[in-house]
């Protein structure tokens, strides 16, 4: 009985901590149309937004951009991609900043500003609320 309970607790812990595949979401991941990337694994997107990965395959700099911490799309992006709530990532970035290890991705006020940033920066990657109108020089990337 005790071991069953332990197994159940462990399974619950794993399912709570695991990021889900970022499909059928209220957000879409976007890059500049000049970027050849078509798909990205969820784990790679997480590494990019944690700045563990800072270069595209051609060696150019990745410039991640985020929505504000109270944006619903950010809450869903953070849970699905990082497997954590927004506040956990806010705490993560406070530790990164104050230890001197890294600076967080830039924040833009809304979907339109994220789209504009991605449009004007060839190395940028961001996410916006699903259904946001995208210009021809910004495209979505499938996250698997």
């Amino acid at each position: 009985m005790r071991s069953r309970l332990l197994v159940l607790l462990a399974a619950a812990a794993v399912s709570l901590g695991r990021p889900a595949a970022a499909q059928s979401s209220r957000f879409v991941v976007v890059v500049n149309a000049a970027n050849p990337t078509q798909t990205l694994p969820t784990k790679e997107v997480s590494r990019i937004f944690r700045k563990d990965v800072t270069r595209w395959s051609d060696g150019s700099a990745i410039q991640p951009v985020e929505l504000p911490s109270d944006a619903p799309a950010r809450a869903e992006f953070t849970q699905r991609v990082h497997g954590k709530p927004v506040q956990a990532m806010v705490a993560f970035w406070q530790q990164q900043i104050f230890s001197g290890r890294a600076v967080p991705p830039l924040e833009r006020k809304n979907d339109a500003e994220v789209v504009e940033y991605v449009r004007s920066h060839p190395g940028a990657i961001g996410y916006v609320t699903a259904g946001t109108s995208l210009p021809a020089d910004v495209k979505t990337v499938a996250v698997q």
């Binding site: 997480s46 506040q87 956990a88 530790q95 900043i97 600076v103």
Partner: protein, 362 residues
Amino acid sequence: MRKPLLTAALLATAAWTIPVRAQQIDLSDKIRLNGYSNFEFEYMPSKAGRGDGNASFDAQEFDLVFNIIPTDRLRVNADMRWEHGVATEDSRGNAAISHAFAEYTVRDALRLRAGKILLPFGIYNEIHTAKPAIFLYKEPFAVYKTEKLGGVRRFQPRSGAGLEALGSGGLGGVDADYTVLVVNGETTGKKDPFEEDDNRAKSLTARFRVHPASWVMLGTSYYHDQLTEFDATGKDTGRRTRQSSYVQSLELSPGPVLVQGEWARGNVTPSSAPGTDMEGWYAVASVMLLDRYRPYVELQHFDPSRKLANDEVRIVSPGVNLRMDGGLYLKFQVDKYHSLPANTRFKGVDYTELTAAVAVAF
């Protein structure tokens, strides 16, 4: 003559300023300014004990953190700190550059730093001043501030001047990161260790961490240094005291739960006297409720000398961290100290201290 000159000057000024106002420059990806402040309160209700019986307020610190990013590979970082309401006129408080370095990214797996750098030892040394980034009232003393618990030295210094190599990447499908730091180390004489070493031996700090899942972190850190032994006239005897420490770290964060634990061992051995073996550990369990309230309980244990009996200290600390708004946090913690008679600081006197803090990150 004077009027046309004035008009021309005004027009020239207008022509100069109008285009600049219309074309604002966004420097947010080149310059970042962050910071934090921390205000504390401590009160020991009992008469006996090492706590604060006067119920003191402490304007503990104000920090500014600068990041200047000239290129996508180069970053300059500096943290300026003012502690305890610094007033140099009255020789009160403390002002310091907590860390300041230049970092060049060769690739994600190799970044190089030079400057004054916080030692990458365990979970908390690099953020020990950044109280808003610590949900506890303070970093666990049993590993990070052992002199407050009767230890002869800390397991490691806070920072050093030197060179660091660090990076992150995948290791067999598992996220991992490492850092290796070589600095002057501690000086035991009058020399400023951030300017000049007092011996040729450099201190070495290394840390390796793996993340088998997004909610699991396992880490190990090592520190080694040689300290100069001086004679009564202040002359280097050529003999060295050796210091080595290591800490094993574990962090589990499934969903709203956060569990941390670290276990440290250290050894300080003078050239002509028996060494001191220290041991400290702590464990913390907490849960985030309603995305705002984090109650927790912390248990700490420190043994200043493993060869000496009856000198251990144990601290049990229940507390709660409240996230009020944005980066504003309120903390309440009760520290129950229990020590054995041979402990040089507490001498077996048990007591309780009530603490509270207002911490802000921006």
